[in-house]
Subunit: 202 residues, 2 copies
């Protein structure tokens, strides 16, 4: 059980914003090994050792809490996969892809349920789509500029992202005979390889 | 309104199996422009001009009817994308990919709702996964043998399928600046391109 309090136990001195952040931290930690359906106010109350009433006070209803967890998890994913400022383009790509693979690896249950839940829940889908778009934009705006900015290239990057997600989820779920480094090599090599399929003028 | 009957109007002479098939044909035609949620026994009764009771008799409950429609649509997809016996490997691939693009194009609403519905409904997911696997197996069993049969290649083909699906759905939903032939060129060129990313020994 994780008790939400300062180390001195002085709960009442923590600001509401800070306490809400701590509770959200806990929600996101649950996301690592639970599906979104399993992440409820009840579970959080149990894990945090505080009342359900207080949680409703911080988050509103059950769906609002779930959305807050997904919003934070998506922000974590975007932050963790940020390519480094230094290094060549392939090194940046490798860093970013490795961080993505490790995020999915560490948050498999939650991530898988997000991919599935996002498909049918419009609010979760919007959060998922936004993160997907943000990750894709990196190839054109900053950091990893291995891709020409054309309509065909944008479509191809989007496809590569869908491919990457499928491959990482399959790699986690099944015996594929590939270790993490082999998976990374395949993913990183696949983007420049795909670009060779682009027409001369996109 | 489509009346389910023979051209002579001799409804009673049609076998139950034949009538069920005709009703299913109608359900699959509805799949072209309706989501799975919209394809109900009520809608079919209205479109076919027959009683709901008779439809329940043929299909059981609402979910069983929806599953029957998806099973048939998936079988249609598999049949239509069957590569021709003759021709080189790229020609077979083009034929198969073109048939896939045209199927999604013609059945966009139903297909999109399947992709989304399949994510959360285990029965639909099983049907979707089976069709996805069947299409993928083609690259190794028969027809389009451009791919070496290794663990990495199997993973890559699966990723290419996810990419293809994402690209076709994006192409249908948004202004991408690509016409059908350009999309096909991109998809067909992307598989051999991806194969160059495979390690020497998969």
């Amino acid at each position: 059980m994780v008790v939400v309090s300062t180390t001195s136990g002085a709960r009442t001195r923590m600001s509401p914003e800070r306490r809400r952040e701590q509770l959200l931290d806990l929600g996101v930690r649950l996301f690592a090994s639970r599906t979104l359906d399993e992440i409820s106010i009840d579970l959080l109350a149990q894990e945090a050792g505080i009342s359900r009433g207080l949680l409703y006070h911080y988050f509103g209803d059950k769906m609002a809490f779930r959305e807050a967890v997904v919003r934070r998890a998506a922000a974590d994913l975007v932050a963790q996969t940020e390519p480094p400022a230094e290094g060549d383009e392939i090194a940046k790509l490798l860093h970013s892809v490795a961080a993505y693979v490790d995020f999915v690896d560490a948050n498999y249950e939650g991530y898988l349920s997000l991919v599935r839940g996002a498909a049918s829940d419009p609010a979760l889908r919007a959060l998922y789509d936004e993160a997907f778009r943000t990750l894709g934009e990196r190839f054109f705006d900053i950091g990893v500029q291995v891709v020409p900015d054309t309509a065909a290239a944008r479509l191809l990057v989007r496809g590569w992202q869908a491919m990457t997600e499928e491959l990482v989820l399959a790699w986690k779920a099944e015996e594929t005979g590939l270790d993490r480094d082999q998976l990374l090599d395949l993913l990183v090599a696949s983007l420049p390889a795909l670009l060779t399929a682009l027409p001369e003028q996109g």
